[in-house]
């Protein structure tokens, strides 16, 4: 019998409306009780005074690169990065090699995860075969094998007719489609946001319209078919507006925002800084403000990292040839906590966007400290100040534009199924 008693922390569990100083008792991998002044003769006691005790954080958008790109990341290293960043559950995207477009690959990932991962791994299947945007992937088979959502992430499902079929077909299985919203034509060959900085650097710019048109299109289609569409990594003001309007119309649309999109702008690309090269691109102050507002008013439902690890040599290249992506799992907590500290949203609301809200989007029974729930818990020290040093990342991906940043807040303990898997 394993027992953990976490004492004296501020328990924030938005799924149950809890926000106060409580003790939390975990027995045999399940949540037993949240209450004041609990005592136990047998439990290991953890002092959480001055810390936040939250349901284990959930990231529904990561790239674990296995199978196929193990030099960038593996399921094992990715899961270690997750728990080091405070995440107990992560969902991984389908753009592996081979692409996760069939049950074999899905099972391979799930089995590898069972064997090697320290966090809970949820699997996202491809919408189309080989991410080709044409034929549907083996969606039914993959559902049976255990996927929780569908996405061609990294690529947009360009053809409307294909998207329509995908929505209808996925709808039968209750699977949300996660859209990487970038019009393939408007974004062709582009490597950063279109604006003053792209003009200054002479780099092909991606217009915000490229995202807004796809979000609008998908919203119309999802509304017409009455299915669930989820917009990945919202980057622009126009996309936030389009989602807000669709929600007002009653469309089943949800959305996520990545920490880099609400923390930094395209000016970070200055001096051809390839660490700031990401898709969709970093935008402007105006877009950052809109995303923050969208998170605050619920237009954007959750925070997701779009953790995209790459090898060093894939970033030390000509800007136009460098890989897109940011290794995001281990910087998400401090960047997100800044939103609460800066008054963008309350602390409960912030934790909601990282726990029960993402759980709801992919339909998993996590992100809560309800009695009987799986004992996934994150303990956060909101005041711990530290300097981001990619050399200390658990992830193989050291590609971050936040290197050297002095940040505040970090996970100090991560508990998965009642077991302490990370402590600092």
């Amino acid at each position: 019998m394993s027992e953990l008693l976490i004492k004296g922390g501020r328990v924030i569990d938005p799924s149950n409306g809890i926000n106060g100083i409580f003790d939390l008792l975990l027995i045999d991998g399940l949540v037993v009780q949240v209450a004041e002044d609990m005592k136990s003769e047998t439990a290991t006691v953890i002092d959480a005074t001055g810390k936040w005790v939250t349901p284990g954080l959930i990231d529904i958008h990561t790239h674990l690169r296995e199978p196929g790109y193990e030099y960038k990341e593996t399921i094992a290293t990715g899961s270690m990065a997750a728990v080091a960043g405070g995440f107990t559950s992560i969902a991984c995207m389908a753009n592996t090699n081979p692409v996760n477009d069939n049950a074999e690959v899905t099972r391979l990932i799930i089995e590898t995860a069972k064997r090697e991962a320290v966090a809970n791994i949820y699997v996202i299947g491809a919408v189309t075969k080989g991410l080709n945007g044409k034929q549907l992937a083996d969606i039914g088979d993959m559902k049976e094998a255990g996927i929780v959502a569908l996405s061609d992430d990294g690529k947009c499902v360009g053809a409307l007719s294909v998207m329509r079929s995908a929505m209808e077909y996925a709808g039968m299985f209750g699977l949300p489609i996660i859209e990487h919203a970038e019009d393939p034509g408007l974004s062709l060959g582009t490597v950063m946001n279109e604006g003053f900085t792209s003009l200054k650097l002479g780099l092909p710019g991606n217009p915000t319209a490229s995202e807004e048109v796809i979000v609008s299109r998908d919203a119309v289609l999802a509304g017409y078919l009455d299915v669930h569409i989820h917009i990945a990594h919202v980057s622009s003001k126009g996309a936030v507006r389009a989602i807000r309007e669709a929600k007002e119309r009653g469309v089943r649309i949800t959305a996520e925002a990545a920490p880099h999109h609400f923390s930094i702008t395209d000016e970070t690309c200055d001096n051809f800084n390839t660490m700031a090269k990401v898709a969709p691109p970093l935008r402007t102050d105006e877009d950052v403000a809109a995303i923050r507002e969208g998170l605050a008013d619920g237009t954007i439902d959750c925070i997701a990292t779009d953790h995209a690890p790459h090898a060093v040599n894939e970033k030390e290249l000509e800007f136009e040839l460098a890989a897109f992506g940011i290794s995001g799992l281990e910087t998400a907590v401090p960047l997100s906590l800044a939103l609460a500290r800066e008054g963008v949203m309350s602390e409960e609301k912030l934790i909601e966007t990282m726990t029960c809200a993402p759980a709801g989007i992919i339909g998993i029974d996590r992100g809560t400290l309800s009695e009987g729930a799986v004992a996934d818990v994150t303990i956060i020290d909101p005041n711990s100040e530290w300097t981001v040093d990619p050399e200390n990342f658990a992830s193989k991906g050291r590609n971050t534009p936040f290197a050297g940043w002095r940040v505040k807040g970090r996970a100090v303990m991560t508990i998965v199924k009642g077991k302490i898997v990370y402590e600092c």
Binding site: E194, G195, F196, S198, L199, K200, L201, G202, L203, P204, G205, P207, N271, F272, N313, E316, L317, E318, F319, E320, L321
Partner: protein
């Protein structure tokens, strides 16, 4: 005993935004003296004897490469040319590896041309050897800008206060980008003109005036610079045909009637005769297109002279 009063502040020339007015003056004044060497019977001075200049051209180029090569040789430097298209990645070697290898051969200056924006600046961050950009992607072409300024100053006697109109594919032009920055530094008033599809967003933050009307651009200009139009832009749906481009944006005699009598006409070359400029205009009295090429050698000699002297560190 420092008689010059000003040394070049930059250890690299990768962007016109890094050169001050004093730097530009120094380069142009030095280039003026260098031009004399090209006009001699023995077109050579011993100044850079024992110095090694590597011209690393990762994008095809004939004129710029030749100009840099001649510049180095006229000053007696050992000039080595390396060419190859695309990224060195095609050979499995990264650009960073390649540059570190070149540096290990101890050149005194590395001239870099790339099809990709930002490469000279990135390389300057990786290695200590002085870097001169010979053009990178759509980003910058600083030595072209300097030779343009030299040609303008020779003809007009000054730079500050001149009205300069740049006409053509502003979106894809590194020449336009370098010149917009440099001309602002030296106090010119710059108008850009082209079809809306070839005027980048936010260009108004760089140029003093933006117009799609060729006549407006030509009217009060002291200097007109036309840019090369590339056929591949038709495939990118930027304009319907070369014929239509020429009709609406090309410089012909009729358009030149609207220009000042003493207008100076520049083109970074190579010229598409009959597209962005009609043959009569290219060969007309306004044109200084060949003088630009001559000045290109002088400017590059000046840069080599100003950047490779003295005791090398380490």
């Amino acid at each position: 005993m420092d008689l010059s009063g000003h040394n070049l502040s930059a250890k690299r020339i990768v962007s016109m935004s890094e050169l001050s007015v004093a730097d530009i003056d120094l380069i142009l004044d030095t280039a003026k003296a260098m031009k004399g060497i090209s006009e001699r019977e023995v077109k050579k001075a011993p100044t850079l004897r024992g110095r090694t200049v590597i011209n690393c051209f990762m994008e095809p180029s004939t004129r710029t490469r030749t100009s840099f090569e001649i510049s180095g040789k006229r000053l007696s430097a050992d000039v080595i040319n390396i060419s190859g298209s695309g990224s060195s990645l095609t050979k499995g070697e990264s650009i960073k590896d390649m540059m570190e290898n070149l540096e290990a051969m101890k050149p005194d200056l590395l001239v870099i041309r790339s099809a990709h924006s930002g490469v000279p600046l990135q390389v300057a961050g990786w290695i200590d050897c002085p870097i001169v950009s010979a053009g990178d992607g759509r980003n910058e072409h600083p030595t072209q800008s300097l030779l343009d300024l030299m040609t303008i100053k020779e003809t007009k006697g000054k730079l500050s206060g001149l009205n300069i109109s740049i006409i053509g594919d502003i979106l894809n032009s590194r020449v336009a980008r370098s010149n917009l920055t440099a001309m602002k530094t030296v106090g010119c008033n710059v108008t850009v003109c082209g079809p809306a599809t070839l005027l980048p967003r936010k260009i108004e933050k760089f140029a003093d005036q933006v117009t799609t009307c060729r006549e407006t651009a030509v009217k009060d200009a002291d200097v007109i610079m036309t840019l090369r139009i590339q056929r591949e832009r038709i495939g990118q749906a930027k304009f319907p045909s070369l014929r239509e481009y020429s009709k609406h944006f090309g410089l012909n005699l009729k358009v030149m009637e609207k220009a000042r009598k003493d207008v100076l006409l520049l083109h970074p070359g190579p010229i598409n005769r009959g597209v962005e400029i009609s043959p009569e205009v290219a060969d007309g009295p306004w044109s200084s297109i060949l003088e630009q090429v001559t000045n290109g050698v002088a400017v590059r000699m000046a840069i080599l002279y100003l950047m490779t002297g003295g005791v090398r560190q380490n």
